[in-house]
């Protein structure tokens, strides 16, 4: 019995889990662990033009389109037509949603100059109008934009404030997930909104910020409060693009990527070999080097081989135009154009100064979402630092790497950097493989050397290779270490020629020696044959002599008998008797 109780206890979460309503803004849902608190009111505060209205509309449109949750928009800012036309370019057809009964847009024009306050009042009409609209479409979501407008319109802010608190409770009681949009005060101070009360009565507070640094604007979002729920507390960049509102939860550097054992070819066979068989799938390779060392060609090779396997690839260019890169790579025998035409390769180029770092990141996220590449190249990340501080670049690059890794994309990033300078080093901690291309100058020429500075999880070659750009792509060639150091380029060629001569000389020497020995062997064999003949002859001679000897004895015996018979010998000489 006790064990059952224990099981039930452990199986039950402590307290009720908070139900959440997805906003349909993927990054935001990720930060908040599922969306806004269901059936509660969320305050979205921000300065003018920070994107508050768009967040609210995205929430409503996603509800209507994806979650079958109709909504009501009550705006005090613009006319209904203006609201609809503002978001039409984002693919939000508010008119159509209204026709389908998934949305009600209530627009109010509040002009304080035509309103005079004369005594006690309440905001009961707002409640009645909302109640009617909610009932009409069965709304689950409500957005009020912007509450600040109501303040000041009726002269008495005390009444408005208490009425708004009552409105929040009223929405809570109805189980409506609501977004209250508030203007951020420019007085600074502790208050998030100009009238600074809503944040105490709402369960969730999101602040949007729009900053301009170095003439580049960056939008950021922060979840200030989320009652009863864990949430990411960082400032997250967000982007307002043709796809609507995108938040990038890129600081989720959680280090929980799946580590693949799969190898992906870099497209340069000898480089694959140096890395122990290619890059690990989903890992990041950084190529650093000074200008003109051929960094881009490493990325191009990688992309080329991915496309040849039928995989999708993405190239983000920060220094050159796509046409330039296509042409340059063609001179290396890498024709990327067919892949672009086949829709396998997407090349996106932009000057880093055109966007802020965060925007750049957001665009990358968008491209990844669209293309779902297996391989990505970020060419020229260091040029991002032209516009901002190094620390910010490092953080941005870290997020980009993180973004690629979480998506399991094998990537090559190229960075301009001489040696192991600080910014490259700080980024290098986040990459798995670091290749460095270095120019060496000798004998009046420049040659490129490739070093593998690190490669996680692989027994990689620690040798230097010469990096040669040929008309059939990149080739890695062994370098020669001589008394004057590493030899590359024509010095290497000279050395190679000298070595070839030496090899030839040795080969000739060997051939001569072989011929000599061969002759000697033949001679000796002939000698052996002659000796053998002589031996045989001598043996034959011996035999003949033996034979001859036998005959001779027999003849002598025979002669002796004949003579004895002739002499009438009466005793055998062997009897010992005298003759």
């Amino acid at each position: 019995m006790e064990s059952t109780i224990l099981t039930t206890l452990t199986d039950q979460p402590v307290g009720p889990t908070l139900d959440k309503t997805p906003t349909g803004i993927s990054g935001l849902d990720q930060i908040t662990g599922g969306g806004l608190p269901r059936g509660r009111v969320t305050l979205v505060a921000g300065s003018a033009g920070a994107g508050k209205t768009l967040l609210g509309l995205n929430f409503l449109v996603a509800g209507a389109r994806e979650y079958d949750e109709p909504g009501v928009l009550m705006t005090f800012e613009e006319s209904a037509d203006k609201v609809a036309s503002n978001v039409r370019s984002l693919g939000f057809d508010l008119d159509e949603l209204q026709r389908k009964g998934m949305l009600v847009v209530l627009a109010f024009r509040v002009d304080p100059s035509e309103i005079t306050a004369a005594g006690d009042f309440d905001l009961e009409p707002i409640f009645a109008i909302l109640a009617d609209a909610i009932e009409r479409v069965g709304a689950k979501r409500v957005v009020l934009d912007t509450i600040e407008v109501i303040f000041g319109a009726f002269g008495d802010d005390t009444i408005v404030r208490s009425e708004l608190i009552r409105l929040v409770r009223w929405l809570d009681d109805r189980g409506i997930t609501a977004v209250l949009i508030g203007e951020r005060g420019n007085r600074g101070g502790d208050s998030l909104t100009r009238h600074g009360i809503e944040e105490y009565v709402t369960d969730c507070v999101i602040v949007l910020d729009h900053r301009v640094t170095a003439e580049i604007s960056t939008r950021r979002l922060r979840v200030v409060k989320y009652r009863g729920s864990a949430h990411g507390t960082n400032e997250y960049p967000f982007l307002i693009s043709a796809r609507g509102f995108t938040v990038l939860p890129i600081t989720s550097v959680a280090l929980d990527y799946a580590a693949s054992e799969d190898r992906v070819s870099t497209g340069i066979p000898r480089l694959d070999h140096m890395l122990g068989g290619g890059m690990f799938r989903g890992s990041t390779l950084m190529v650093s080097g000074t200008a003109g060392t051929g960094k881009t060609s490493v990325g191009a090779h990688m992309v080329n081989s991915a496309c040849a396997r039928g995989e999708h690839a993405l190239m983000v260019l920060l220094e050159e135009s796509p046409e330039q890169v296509l042409r340059n790579m063609q001179s290396l025998g890498l024709d990327l154009r067919p892949w672009v035409e086949a829709g396998l390769l997407r090349i996106w180029a932009a000057r880093p100064s055109a966007f802020g770092l965060e925007t750049h990141l957001a665009i990358l996220a968008g491209l990844i979402e669209e293309e779902k590449p297996s391989v990505a190249v970020l060419d020229g990340i260091a040029s991002l630092s032209n516009t901002t501080l190094d620390a910010e670049v490092t953080s941005s690059v870290a997020r980009q790497i993180d973004l690629l890794k979480t998506r399991g994309i094998t990537s090559v990033i190229t960075a301009l950097g001489q040696g192991e300078d600080v910014s490259t080093v700080s980024v290098s901690a986040m990459v798995d493989t670091w290749l460095q291309l270095r120019n060496i100058e000798a004998n009046g020429e420049r040659n490129r050397l490739l070093f593998v500075l690190k490669s996680r999880g692989t027994s990689h070659s620690n040798q230097v290779r010469e990096f040669v750009l040929t008309d059939h792509g990149v080739e890695l060639v062994d370098v020669y270490i001589g008394a004057a150091g590493v030899l590359a380029g024509s010095a290497r060629v000279t050395q190679q020629a000298a070595e070839r001569d030496e090899e030839l000389r040795i080969a000739e020497e060997l051939a001569r020696r072989r011929r000599e020995l061969h002759r000697s062997v033949i001679e000796r064999e002939a000698h052996i044959v002659a000796t053998q003949d002589q031996l045989d002859a001598e043996r034959t001679e011996i035999n003949r002599i033996d034979l001859r000897e036998g005959h001779l004895v027999a003849d002598i015996e025979a002669d002796r008998s004949t003579m004895a018979a002739r002499r009438w010998a009466d005793a055998s000489p062997h009897n010992g008797e005298t003759l």
């Binding site: 109010f108 005594g119 009042f121 905001l123 707002i126 009645a128």
Partner: protein, 110 residues
């Protein structure tokens, strides 16, 4: 608003002009009742015989309230003469009522 009105050009000052007013109330809340009473009293006093008042209950007809851009109650709207004027509150302050609706007290010289 900032410029003073010329003495003989008070809007609605002409005695034959008709006034069309609408008051938006919520049910028969005390505030609403007070507003209706105060408005009627002022009209009887200053616009005798040349005014009409429509009473709209926003709880019964919220869509009408939405269409007429009513957010607070009680609200009195002066539809005619133009321009439109809105007065929010129970109208307990009769001075503000007259100023807000731009009614020239009948005692004042034209």
């Amino acid at each position: 608003m900032s410029e003073p009105y010329p003495a003989n050009d008070w809007t609605g000052a002409e005695h034959d002009e008709q006034w069309d007013l609408c008051v938006y109330v919520t049910d028969n809340s005390p505030k609403s009742q007070r507003a209706i009473e105060n408005l009627r009293r002022a009209c009887e006093e200053h616009l005798t015989g040349r005014y009409q008042i429509e009473i709209v209950d926003v709880l019964k007809d919220p869509r009408r309230a939405a269409a007429d851009q009513i957010l607070a109650a009680p609200t009195v709207v002066r539809r005619v003469p133009s321009p439109i004027r809105k007065l929010v509150g129970d109208l307990s302050d009769s001075n503000r009522l007259l100023i807000g609706l731009e009614i020239r007290p009948s005692g004042e010289p034209a």
